[in-house]
Symmetry: C2
Subunit: 520 residues, 2 copies
């Protein structure tokens, strides 16, 4: 009797034909809808929200039996979120949200076609409480602090969602589903869950799998029946943003072993294939302080983001954002610069500037060597633009830390870095890194450049993937459950590796066969 | 590690030991509770309400690991409603509610021991809108009518629940679960669901299985996480009150075929055993109008509720409620009276008064014979207390209707009425009927008196059963699913049976061997 055709690749919206009641079949309205849905749902049970039940008789009798039914799923239980006439021109929409510590990115998705409708981002206003998550967690422990932090993230989300809907000619009531990926502390603050035990030994979150939550229970002003999927975490150090990233990269589905590095506030690494996944986070003790993301300044107009060496010479070509006179250098620019300096012999294998190779571009301030990258007359700041030996030392520590972590995690499972089939770099910063330069300084392993893939915002990508794949919950659970978390043990062995990685590209040059330095 | 002992016969409250977290096991708080619960739950998944999750870290760390965990269940999904220290002296409580068209009865139950804590009842204030359900359904279709009707039932429920809790030294926040049984229209009004399609062909409810609903979604002021179980209906004519009644009587579990008659606003009949159930409702067309419950007046002080014949004579002994001077006669009294009049020859087999046998106790008003039951000087109303031939005719039609329905339903499955092992009479009215008198006039079949059982308020009994048996949901579903609803077809065959049953006790005296009338 019912003609079921899944209307969408996303799978949230089922096209159903609800049979009219008769004296021979006096099944109630709700159960007739359930019956029509049954062939479309692989298994499990279905329920209605009371608010939809209250509209159901009128809705069913005003239309001719053809409906789009939007559902969400929790394990084997489906909840009907909305029922609209099949010819309704406005499809239900979903919101993918990357809940970053510094920046929040959101994206509206058509829940039928899976098309991205629009996207926007804003600085996380919790920065006012504390730029890093630790300060916020301490603030949450104060009276009213947690509620204030939750409001600080939920209110602007409501504003941005409303604006984003408006820009597409829609209203927040059309939003039936949201998918949120963030680190463990951020998702706790978002849900109003006490985060204080996350930072105290033994580092315990309130919940690992928040699963589906009602939007109104979080203060989100979407459709009153809207549900919010919050990506699961593994613990304090491994959040839903990374699970979302793995989902997006598809690491868990590949035959060959691949690695994903998410260069966000922390640097997190996941290694694996469809049989196993192992992960670790870069916040691994004082040796690694600083981190990859602390290199250089934030990208912005006039900031140097690329540095290239004129082949066969010591001349450098710089590119700035928007082609403006240079005002500073960002992380990807610093990596490029270090590679260029090293490849042309201006930097030695210890990462120290070699004044006699630098053609008079070295200045000293308080006995500290500075390399003049842009002269006063060409710069946008009215003076020489320089990089100091201290900045370069910091880069060397960071690149050594990165390589050591990559080496440690791969050795822990007996995989050699050169054997990796694919290397995914996630995160906004990661998407600007030039792998060739990063290989040259020994920050990333010497794989063919074709093995490197930039994922961009993989957390947002994973959240979007959830919205466009109604059946991926089991996949997400299986990712979560299959990850082995490697606690980085900063022992002598680790420190030995770290010391070796502090050379350019490495004390063991055989690890970097492609790095052929021009000897001067 | 966890020592699980189901703490209660009810099964809602599990005693669990939540292990402390460690660096070796950094599972989140919620998932540690899930883990501790797992051995106590046969199967399925578990989730927390956001509000409980927000209290969880403090709760777990304030106590020593032993908790009482109260859960509710929806198919294979459990929801944690509350977690309290194992030594909490105040057990969680539940409320059983019989949502009657005329009267609402509620009962508080200890969800650990299953003990009934207290009970109260109140007239359904929706009576002000309309004494019968039809008037209310019409009112619900008017603007604001449905909301007004819902408020009319929810507000006094909140008041009564608060008062009942107070009387036990408790507060409504201690109430975690409610079970509500009512007819289909009443439960729809209670949920704020549009009931108008229930009374229009083809008579379609909004929902058959409302299942578990959040108390706050219904406006009930219990614990903010409390859930309300609403008994399922089969359709417009067969409500959750009857499903609750079957559950309470245990009809669905018995080897031998039994019958249950619920004499409420309608007279509903269920026949069956553990293999099958068949049901019909007494609202079966104009022939039966009036119904059994319309006989006599409401029971109250001074109302005659029993009439006995002094054996071997035509003298009648009456009993009144509270032994006050008689002011009227209620239904059970009328049946007693008719039996006494018939057995002593004052009423003939057609149910007509026989003046010459009545020793001068007949008066005429507008040519209508009246039997003087109590003389002016003995009555509490300052005049003779009489019953008219019209009243008796009405009784005869009602008793004939009842017997015809019983005969029709039993013949539909090939069971003879005398073969019934048990005959359950439910409903407040039913609990006062004297089976001997009802048999004498041919209202009930001629079974041994030991076969008759009065159930009292079986709807409330079933709701209480739910609260004391956490595992009975499948049983309730199976009752609902196994009932065949017999649409009473008022055809010639039915009318022939009805005509035969209009005699006292019946045209076929062989059906009533125990009725030995004293011939005058």
């Amino acid at each position: 009797m019912e003609c079921i055709m899944p209307k969408s690749p996303c799978g949230w919206v089922k096209k159903i034909t609800v049979p009219a009641p008769s004296l021979q079949d006096n099944t109630a309205d709700a159960e007739r809808v359930f019956g029509a849905l049954k062939p479309a749902l692989s298994n499990g049970t279905v329920s209605f929200d009371m608010s939809l039940l209250r509209n159901l008789p009128g809705l069913l009798r005003k239309n001719d039996g053809e409906f789009n039914c939007t559902l969400c799923r929790r394990q084997d239980h489906w909840t009907v979120l909305d029922l609209s006439p099949a010819d309704d021109p406005a499809p239900p929409i979903g919101a993918a949200i990357d809940l970053g510590t510094s920046r929040v990115v959101l994206r509206l998705v058509d829940l039928i076609s899976g098309d991205v409708l629009s996207e926007s981002s804003f600085d996380n206003p919790q920065i006012a409480i504390g730029p890093d998550i630790l300060a916020r967690i301490h603030h949450a422990a104060e009276k009213g602090g947690l509620a204030a932090l939750q409001t600080l993230i939920v209110n602007p989300l409501n504003r941005e969602i409303a604006a984003l809907c408006h820009s597409c000619g829609r209203v927040p009531e059309d939003l039936l589903l949201a998918a949120v990926a963030g680190n463990t502390a951020m998702t706790h603050l978002f849900m109003g869950l006490d985060p204080q035990w996350i930072i105290r030994e033994p580092y315990i979150p309130v919940v690992n799998r928040p699963d589906l939550v009602k939007a109104i229970d979080l203060g989100l002003k979407l459709n009153p029946r809207a549900r919010v999927f919050i990506f699961p975490n593994i613990g304090s150090y491994f959040g839903g943003d990374l699970i979302a990233g793995i989902l997006y990269a598809g690491l868990h589905q590949k035959e060959e072993t691949a690695i994903m590095v998410d260069v966000g506030t922390n640097a997190e690494v996941v290694l694996g294939n469809r049989n196993w996944l192992i992960a670790c986070a870069g916040a691994a003790g004082p040796a690694l302080e600083g981190g990859v993301t602390k290199i250089g300044m934030m990208a912005g107009p006039g900031v140097i983001d690329k540095v290239q060496r004129v082949p066969g010479s010591r001349q450098l070509r710089i590119s700035t954002i928007d082609d403006l006179p240079p005002v500073g250098i960002c992380g990807s620019g610093v990596i490029d610069l270090a590679a260029a300096l090293f490849m042309s012999g201006m930097l030695d294998i210890r990462g120290k500037l070699v004044p006699e190779q630098c053609d008079g571009r070295i200045r000293y301030q308080a006995e500290l060597a500075h390399f003049v990258l842009v002269k006063e007359e060409d710069s946008g700041i009215g003076r020489d633009l320089t990089i100091s030996q201290a900045d370069l030392d910091s880069l060397i520590r960071s690149k050594a830390a990165m390589y050591t972590i990559l080496e440690t995690i791969s050795q822990s499972v007996g995989t050699a870095l050169p054997d990796l089939a694919s290397f995914y770099v996630a995160g906004t910063f990661g998407s600007f890194i030039n792998p060739r330069a990063a290989i040259s300084i020994g920050m990333l392993p010497d794989l063919p450049l074709t093995a490197y893939h930039s994922l961009g915002n993989s957390s947002l990508g994973g959240a979007t993937h959830y919205l466009t794949h109604a059946d991926c919950l089991a996949e997400i659970d299986s990712i979560r459950d299959s990850i082995t978390y490697l606690e980085l043990n900063v022992n002598q062995d680790f420190m030995n590796r770290f010391s070796a990685a502090k050379f350019l590209p490495h004390t063991n040059a055989a690890l970097f066969p492609s790095v052929a330095r021009e000897e001067s």
